[in-house]
């Protein structure tokens, strides 16, 4: 198959639009989080820069870019410089497999609204979510500071606690959709979203992705009350910004994944598919922010306990129940 220039142009346009939209949404999610947290705490939040504080992300960007890019003298220089990118890039890459709208027709061609329709999209997501932890662990190690190291170690310990239950919570979805492809999973939810069939799996997945993007109540690697700022203690300027933006990109991408797996993807009445996808993803992101304003941080061992002794067995039982139900439905 040879790609015509139009195909390449469409693909490049899609890439550019997705990249721009994701980064802009991440920047504004920071503002949204600050405003919503402020409302929860009966404050008003940043509203000085531009109308309703809408230019605040720009001001933050200028501040971060003009700050000194500090490297500790005892740090492992190259790993220290690489780690922020290793944290942010997998977060953006994951979005490549998420279908964010119904296929549209441009100039007589079917253009699927996703970057790459992998037939193993779920595995791609699971693999990238594991790789994203390397950025944090290596950043923590390369800083050569006790707080960073502890943060990195905690990040790894957290990874092995939630990753299993996250993977297991997706197994029933794959069983229902008979496919690893995210497009097929969305198509299987054209009438009823999977959250109706799989509420338990949805809750396990939601808890696991909260741990995945290191948000309260699972912000154990950062734990600003205990570890200063955890793995990014020694980072400043735009390198810290990359860690920070990576976290918010992660929220958007994981919100999109929760939408894709459980909330019916871009399916929905009346509104255009892209709008439905955006609304659902932002609802998940809003829930994350709401949760941050509500719950306290779990202790290190409590997360392990939750991951290994509660979520993983529950996910296994859920898989068994789903299998039993599917077998009954087939017979």
């Amino acid at each position: 198959m040879t790609a015509s220039p139009l195909d390449i142009a469409l693909f490049a346009a899609k890439l550019g639009v997705v990249f721009f939209v994701i980064l802009t949404m991440a920047a504004y999610l920071v503002l949204a989080e600050r405003r919503i947290l402020a409302w929860i705490q009966d404050r008003k939040g940043p509203n000085r820069v531009g109308p309703f504080g809408m230019l605040q992300p720009l001001a933050d960007l200028i501040k971060l870019l003009t700050k000194e890019d500090f490297i500790p003298s005892a740090a492992d220089r190259w790993l220290f410089l690489l780690a922020p990118a290793m944290a942010a890039i997998p977060a953006i890459l994951t979005f490549a497999v998420i279908p964010f709208g119904a296929p549209i027709t441009i100039a007589g061609r079917q253009v699927p609204l996703l970057i790459a329709d992998l037939n193993v999209g779920v595995l791609f997501f699971l693999a990238l979510s594991s790789i994203a932890v390397y950025g944090m662990a290596i950043g923590g190690w390369a800083s050569n500071s006790k707080y960073s190291l502890l943060g990195g170690i905690r990040g790894l310990a957290q990874l092995i606690s939630y990753e299993l239950s996250m993977g297991l919570s997706l197994v029933p979805v794959i069983m229902l959709a008979h496919s690893f492809s995210l497009t097929a999973i969305v198509d299987a939810q054209s009438t009823v979203p999977f959250i109706v069939y799989q509420p338990v799996a949805f809750i396990i997945f939601l808890i696991s992705i909260t741990a995945e993007c290191k948000r309260i109540p699972f912000d154990i690697p950062e734990a600003e009350g205990e570890l200063v700022a955890g793995f990014h203690t020694e980072y400043s300027g735009m390198r810290f910004g990359l860690f920070f933006v990576g976290e918010y990109i992660n929220i958007i991408v994981l919100g999109g994944l929760a939408t894709t797996f459980f909330l019916g993807g871009w399916h929905g009445p009346f509104l255009p598919p892209v709008v439905w996808f955006t609304i659902k993803s932002l609802a998940v992101a809003f829930f994350f922010i709401w949760m941050r304003g509500t719950l306290p941080r779990l202790r290190y061992d409590q997360l392990m306990h939750l991951g290994w002794k509660v979520l993983t067995p529950l996910a296994l039982v859920n898989i068994l129940a789903t299998g039993w139900w599917l077998a009954l439905a087939a017979s």
Binding site: W39, I40, D42, R43, W290, G293, T294, L295
Partner: protein, 176 residues
Amino acid sequence: MPLISDIKAIIAGFGVTLHHMLRRPVTIQYPEEKRVPYPRFRARIVLTRDPDGGERCVACYLCSAACPVDCISMQAAERDDGRRYAAWFRINFSRCIFCGLCAEACPTLAIQMTPDYEICKRDIMDLVYEKEDLLIDGCGKDNSYNFYHHAGIGVTQPRGAGLEERLPVDVRSLLP
């Protein structure tokens, strides 16, 4: 079961935060919105005058003695008619803690606290207020009080001419 009550408690917590999210913020956007302080709010200190327009301060040093941070200083002087006044009077607002003890100590109601809390200066020396900065034209909180109508015997009016005074008794005519 503890599990059920725990889950209930978590959901209740989400309810509380949602309730607060929808509530009006308590923030006062300071430079644009200013809160109106109560009349007895303790902020910038002033020296008031009596209803006749004379300075109330008699330079008794009681405020300066009461001040816990020693931010009030003055020099007493006496007019030709015997009425005391402060030759200079100085309050260092960079030290003042706005405790109000000076206003409490003042026997003539001269030194008073006002609700004007916006005393910011670029230069710290501008926070040292001299007598002409402190002295206002009005009476402050008590519009009728005039110390010399009640006391200050024999200074501005003859003995016994004060408001609550009777004429002095002539002890020589008091014989039985």
